[in-house]
Amino acid sequence: MSVIGQSVRRAALDRFATGRGRYVGDIDLPGMATVVFARSPVAHAELLGVDVAATRAIPGVLAVITGDDIAGFAPQPSLWNLPGQNHSGLKALATDRLRYVGQPFAAVVALDRRTAEAAASAIVPKYRALPVIADMDAALRTDAPRLYDHWSDNVVGRPRWQAGDIVAAFNNAALVVSDRFTTQRVHPCSLEPRGVVVAPDLDGESITVWLSTQSIHQVRAGISECLGLPEHRIRVIAPDVGGSFGMKACLYGEEVILAFLTHRIGRPLRWIETRAEAFVASTHGRDERVDLALAFDADGRIRALRSTIVLDKGADPYATSMGTAWITGAVMTGPYRIDTVDIEAIAVVTNKTPTGAYRGFGQPEANFALERALDMAAPRLGLDPAEFRRRNLVAPSEMPYPTPTGIVLDSGRYVDLLDATLERFGDNDAPPSSRRRTGVGIACYAETTNFGPSPLCKLIGVDSGGFDITAIRMEPSGHVRVFVGQTPMGQGIETVLMQVAADELGLPIEDISIVHGDTVSSAYTAYASGGSRGAGVAGGSTALAARRLRERILRWGAHLLDAPSESVRFVQGGVEVTDMPTRRIGIAEIAAAAYKAFSTPEGLEPGLEDRAAYDPPALAIAYGCVVAQVAVDLDTGKITVERIVFGHDCGVQINPAIVEGQVIGGLAQALGATLFEEVRYDADARPLTLSLQDYLLPLASDVPHVELVHFETPTPFSPIGAKGVGESGTIGVPAAIANAVQNALGAASPLVTLPLTGERVLAALSCDSAPSRASG
């Protein structure tokens, strides 16, 4: 029986449940010193000087460095570089300007944490305040002060997609619906903050870096680039990673500084982010405003779509640059039949912490606008929201369907899944009550997964390929070791890839081990663990490598059985001459023979190793439908999400329990972002959210029991038919909840801004303009 489709248990959980996880903060090395960063207290200022002489003299302080000490560094790299975009050129520590509260401008190394923290807080930068750019509108004003003198404005880039005659489509429309949809700034807020330990090697030049990261190879390349240290002298190891969600996908400055300092100080160094620090030092998510207009025919078909997307990127467009806004534009048409578009995505810099990758990566922002707009239009055309969508969802007969932005909807039964999800949902079962209204909302989504292919990466400006490599080795005992480039961060990819290898080789999962998270021993991944590509792309390279190994084993088996190659086949535990079970040889015996090589088959070498790369030919489009039922308290505006039925199709499900965990985990994050979470700044771009007392994460009693409806439409764009699922839970949930709340409220102003606070809900009900909030 195939192990694909089984919920194979993750060995990691036995470690976690017995307290044997090992995260970067658990690493103790002899002589290790602690690094603390001094961070800007102001949002925008000219940095006139940092006097560290007194700090250096504090007992227990081993070193203090500032931007002056890293003049030889190259700028922090950018993963995503749209042709023609602006770059900051910033290095790991601020030099002449402070551009956001929290920007590091000095690093202290001391014997213990208390000394390092006290010393860092004693460093007072000399600065002259500059006018603050507090939000995207301030950044876009024609007379706005510029964050970067070498830019002509505050715009990172402004890609545009145009197709069809947009003016005619809107002029001839039976109905136009338009509004401004705002997805607020959030924090990925992994439970383990960031952290890095660096140790100097005995050769005096090489270093080992333990980093809580999704991207060991990218980090290695980035440290090499920044320091001018040859890549082969840098070893990056990801220990257990306590959640990441994109926040740990790119290279930050802290690891570069520690890499720089370790040999100079001659000790291992550690930096562990505090929670308060995480709110200003780690990349934020979302913060996009989508102006969307849809033009409809009288029968409810979408004729055209016009959209302007603005991303508040924060102070520095490094790392993922304006990638999230680009994706928002690229997926704006969703799973619908729309051929006429005019879409522009604009990213601006402001004096806030930079945004970066966060699960969903621009797709939730697009989906919120599109699905809300559809629900706003439906009643005006006399259609119910489900029927409205049926008329516009792309049908299987139209696939592959090229959307006007170039995303191709490859496979899937969108309408069938909508119907199946609605059927499972049944009816709104809530009893009526005078101070409480309930409502139901739908959102459909199409999702880009299996991020690659390499030529596409180049086309859109991603500075890496999109392939994965897997190496696979059967050892003399017959045990199989799989070397992958993916990094576990809770998503269970290590188990999934073991299942793929076990399935291809016909071996029990106990006979498979996996090697990951170490640049010395792992295989290479071009794009790391992100973009929902682990199962589809690394699963692809793993399957291909395993198939090659299987062929090799077969040839050895044939040789040892003294039979022609075509006459043997794989069976459970060995190789036999087809239909002659007496002529059989076990795996262990084959492996032993291959490593003795007393007699080697023609054309083969001793040993049993193979490798394969898989570069997906296209993105695989997963899809789904979310149906949410909410209750709204009319006295407080508080929303309770009572039920969610989640229909999804991620192609072949390798491990259903892991798939379910990914969907529900993503869903909880989206629920939190829809109802409670917000990173707030005041009018001077000073952060107001610095604690988990302010940043409210969803708890167990906030998330309902979720029912899942699975379809499995294998994708042609992975050798194992798998699409990604890591981000699925985040994409359609905000719109489904908002649509449900709107349905509950009945006659009310449209809800178009997240989060849906109690205050916003009551304001929509009273049809007043919402009371202005204290913060920006």
């Binding site: 439970l191 257990d240 985990g665 009693s701």
Partner: protein, 157 residues
């Protein structure tokens, strides 16, 4: 060094140590006691990943001084190797009740306290379980698998 002498029990074993007056229990457990299973996620008592048991009750080890634990009987996740603890471990593993593992020690402590609480009418009631699990943040699972694990552990008693 100057410090306060404390003696307590950790995971069934007697421990004596001299600690700085302001050393948190979390840092004490993770430091010289080398019990890394308890994690630090916020240092303000909100996230719950530092939760351990002292005298059968859960507490935030990041908001407790080691000195306050003189005479206490502490159980961390490493010490859940008695029958009740093993039931919980088995259930967490079987039901995929962890993804990144960072909250797991805290979640198991709260779950264990819940399952031992005789004032709870029905340990398999989902609403009651979720209400207790509110004490620990999980950012990965969305809680459903953890609820299933606790129900299974309750049913296995």
């Amino acid at each position: 060094m100057n410090g306060v002498l404390i003696s307590l029990r950790i995971n069934g074993g007697a421990v004596a140590a001299r600690v700085a007056p302001d050393l948190t229990l979390a840092d004490f457990l993770r430091g010289e006691q080398r019990l890394k299973g308890t994690h630090i996620g916020c240092e303000e008592g909100v996230c719950g990943s530092c939760t351990v048991m002292a005298d059968g009750e859960t507490l935030r080890s990041c908001l407790t001084l080691a000195t306050q634990m003189d005479g206490a009987d502490i159980t961390t996740v490493e010490g859940f190797d008695d029958p009740a603890g093993e039931r919980l471990r088995k259930a967490f593993s079987e039901y995929f009740a962890a993804q990144c593992g960072f909250c797991t020690a805290g979640m198991m402590a709260v779950a264990r306290e819940f399952l031992a609480d005789t004032s709870v009418a029905d340990h398999r009631d989902e609403a009651a379980i979720r209400s207790r699990l509110d004490a620990v943040v999980c950012r990965c699972t969305g809680y459903q698998a953890i609820v299933a694990a606790v129900r299974a552990a309750a049913g296995a008693e």
